[in-house]
Symmetry: none
Subunit: 386 residues, 2 copies
C-alpha cells in the first residue's frame, strides 16, 4: 500500500491539470493501464480528514468510531511510544501577564532555539506517582506522555483557545480522571514556577489528552504480518497503533523507501507493507504546485524499484487530497489505483489522474473498504454465506 | 428480473475481453442502448457472495442480517420444503476406522450409485418425536429435514473439518437446543449402526443446522405477486423463502424459461417474475471460458421471447461474478442492465459488458437497492414526504 500523502489535487488555474495529471508518470500510467482505477472518499463526502482518521480508514478501521487524539499523534510525531495505559498530551508554550492572563497563546511562535532549552527545564519536573516523557515538537509545541497507575485521559484542555483569560483548569470529565487531573495540576504549577520570569514564554497550556485506543492489530484482524516504511515518525506511529512493525532503512527518498519495501517483502518477512511518502502533502500545504508535481514524478521514477517486490496486489492512493491551490488538506476524493495481475478486471483507463479515475472500474470507494479490496485480490477472504 | 448466475467475469488473458464482452449479444446490446447500465456489488466491496445471500440481496433483503444456512440451501436443492419450525441439515458420508477416527471426510467422493442405496437405508431410521425427510444430493452429500415439536437449529456441526479425529458431538449452543441435539445424537448412533461394516462409507457427519428464517414475503413487503422460473431447485427454494410461487414449465433452455415467463405475465398471474439461468455460473466454475461465452449467447438469442412479455421493467444481472479464469465465485462487481421504456434515463452506452457498465447511468449500485430501482420504474413507490 503506497500512500502519497495529500495526493489528490486541483488544477492550478481553470481548465488546467491537477498536480497528478500534470506530472509525467509513465510507470504509474503503465500500472494504471494494467490495473484499474477509482476514487476514494477517506471519511465521508465533504469531510476534510486529518492524517490520523484518514490512515485509520485506509487500514480498514472505522474512522468515525475510533478517536486518535491530538496528544497521541504529537507523541508519535516525536517518537514517544504510547502504551494503552499511558496518557499523551499536546502542549503549547504561551505568555501570561502578572495576573496569569494569557496574552499570546503561541508565545509569539518562539523559535526552536528558544523552545528546546525550555522543554529541557520542564523535563526536570518530578511529580510523585508519574513517569513523564516530554519532548519538543517544533516552535511553541511540545508533546508529553504520562505513565503511572490508573491514569485517565478523560480531562479537558487547559487551552482556552482565547487570549485575555487564564488557562483553564485540567478538569476531570469523570471520577476516574480525578487523580490524573490532580497530578497534571501539580505539574502545571511546577511548570509555571520553572518558567516564571522567562521573557519569551512563561506558561504552558495542555490539550488533546488521549489514550492509545488499543486497536486490534493487522495480525488479529487480517492475519497479516505488516510492516511500515515511513520517514516521518507520526506515520510510523499510526502504523504502530494497528500493529505494524517499523521497517528500518537508510535514506529518505522514495527510491530508498521502495528499495526497503522490496527487501522486506523478498526476504519474506511481511505479508503487507505500508509505504508513506510525505513530500506530496508538504508541497501541497506550501501551495507549491510545481514542487508537488515534481514530488509525484520522483515517486513515479522509483516505481520499478517497488515492482521488484513482485507484489500480488499494489494499491497506490493518498490519505486525502492536499491541493496546492488550497494550501491545506481538502475533502476532495483521492485517486485510487489497484494493480493485481492475477485477478484485476481492467477498465478502459490508461493514465493515473483524477479525471481518469472517474472512469475506473473501482468506482467511488470508501476509504475503509480499500483493505477489503486488497484482501480480496490477495485471496485472503472467504466466501460469505452458502 | 433475469439473473444469469455468475454473470460477471474477467478477461481470459491480459488485455482481452471478459466472457460477457466477448459474447455476441445483439439483443442485450439493443436493450442496453435503449436502457441504462451500472455495476452491482452484491454484498459489500471485496466480499465474494454465496448464492443464498447474493439472491437475498437482489430480492431487496439485507444479506448481512439474514442468514440462510447450508442445510436450508441443500434441502431446497433436492426439493424438500422447510417450514419455519423445521431444522434443515447438510450431511456427508465419511469413512472411519475401528476406533471411530475419520479417515476420509468425503468417503472417497463415492458415486451416486453407491450413495443412493445408503441414503435409502438411513431413511429407515426411526427416532421417536421426529419426522425425518432425508434425500441424496450428489456423491457423498445428502440433505435432511427434521420436523417435530420445539426443535432448534442452534447446534454445532459434527464435521470436524479434519481427518484423524472423531466426528464431533452435535453440541447444543443454547438450552433450547438440548432436546434436538439429543434426538440428533440418537439418529447419528443409529446411522453408525446401519453403516457399520460398509466398505465405501461407514459414518456420517452433519453440518449447517438451519431454520427457515421466516422472511416477510414479496407480497407483504412489496405488494407484488411474484413467481420464479428456475431449473435448479435451490434457486426455486430461495425464491420460495421470499414468498414467490414456482412457475412450472417444460424444458430447460433459456428459451423454454423465457417462454414460461411470457406465458405467466401475459396470463396476468404475476406482477414480478424472477428467472434464473444457471449455465453461466456452472461453466465459470468449470473454468470453461468459451462455454460461458456460449451460454451468454444462448440467453441473448432467446431475449426476444422474454420481450414478448412486454415487461414495464426488465433487469438483467447476475447474483455474483464467476470468472472462468478463477473457477469460482468472486467479489468483482456484477454487470447490471435496466430496461424500462417509459421511465429510463438513457446513458451513452450501447453494449452490455463490464467495462461499458462503468459508464452507465446507474453507477455502482448495492445489490439490495436493485429492488428499489425496479419498484420505482414500475411506478410502485410513493413520494417520500410532502
Amino acid at each position: 500500500m503506497l500512500v502519497l500523502d495529500g495526493l489528490g489535487g486541483l488544477p492550478d488555474h481553470p481548465n488546467s491539470q491537477t498536480e497528478l495529471e500534470q506530472a509525467a508518470t509513465p510507470h504509474l500510467d503503465k500500472i494504471a493501464k494494467e490495473g484499474t482505477l477509482g476514487q476514494m472518499i477517506p471519511i465521508q463526502t465533504g469531510v476534510t480528514p486529518g492524517s490520523g482518521p484518514a490512515h485509520l480508514a485506509l487500514f480498514g478501521y472505522d474512522p468515525l468510531s475510533i478517536s486518535i487524539g491530538r496528544g497521541i499523534l504529537e507523541a508519535y510525531g516525536v517518537d514517544i511510544q504510547v502504551g494503552t495505559k499511558d496518557v499523551a498530551i499536546r502542549g503549547n508554550f504561551c505568555t501570561v501577564d502578572q495576573d496569569g492572563i494569557i496574552r499570546d497563546r503561541r508565545a509569539g511562535r518562539i523559535s526552536d532555539e528558544i523552545a528546546i532549552p525550555l522543554v529541557k527545564r520542564l523535563a526536570e519536573i518530578k511529580i510523585s506517582g508519574l513517569e513523564i516523557d516530554i519532548r519538543h515538537v517544533n516552535q511553541y509545541r511540545f508533546a508529553m506522555v504520562l505513565r503511572g497507575d490508573d491514569l485517565s485521559a478523560d480531562i479537558n484542555d487547559t487551552d482556552p483557545q482565547d487570549t485575555g483569560v487564564r488557562p483553564l483548569d485540567p478538569y476531570p470529565r469523570s471520577a476516574a480522571a480525578n487523580k490524573t487531573a490532580e497530578l497534571v495540576r501539580e505539574w502545571i504549577t511546577e511548570a509555571g514556577k520553572m518558567l516564571h520570569g522567562q521573557r519569551d514564554a512563561n506558561m504552558v497550556t495542555l490539550r488533546g489528552f488521549s489514550n492509545n485506543p488499543g486497536l486490534d492489530t493487522f495480525g488479529e484482524r487480517y492475519q497479516l504480518s505488516a510492516g511500515c516504511v515511513a520517514v516521518y515518525p507520526m506515520y510510523r506511529g499510526i502504523a504502530t497503533l494497528v500493529g505494524m512493525e517499523t521497517i528500518q532503512f537508510d535514506g529518505v527518498s522514495p527510491e530508498d523507501q521502495f528499495r526497503a519495501v522490496t527487501k522486506a517483502i523478498v526476504s519474506n518477512n511481511y505479508d503487507f507493507v505500508f509505504v508513506h511518502v510525505k513530500q506530496t502533502d508538504s508541497y501541497g500545504e506550501d501551495g507549491n504546485y510545481d514542487a508537488k508535481v515534481k514530488a509525484i514524478e520522483e515517486v513515479d521514477k522509483a516505481i520499478p524499484k517497488l515492482l521488484q517486490a513482485k507484489p500480488d496486489v499494489l494499491i497506490v492512493t493518498g490519505d486525502h487530497s492536499t491541493p496546492a491551490r488550497m494550501q491545506s488538506h481538502s475533502w476532495h476524493p483521492v485517486p485510487l489505483l489497484l494493480w493485481a495481475p492475477d485477478t484485476v478486471r481492467q477498465d478502459h483507463v490508461d493514465q493515473f489522474g483524477e479525471r481518469e479515475c472517474l472512469s475506473g472500474g473501482l468506482g467511488t470507494v470508501n476509504g475503509k473498504d480499500v483493505m477489503s479490496i486488497i484482501l480480496a485480490h490477495a485471496g485472503r477472504l472467504n466466501k460469505y454465506g452458502a
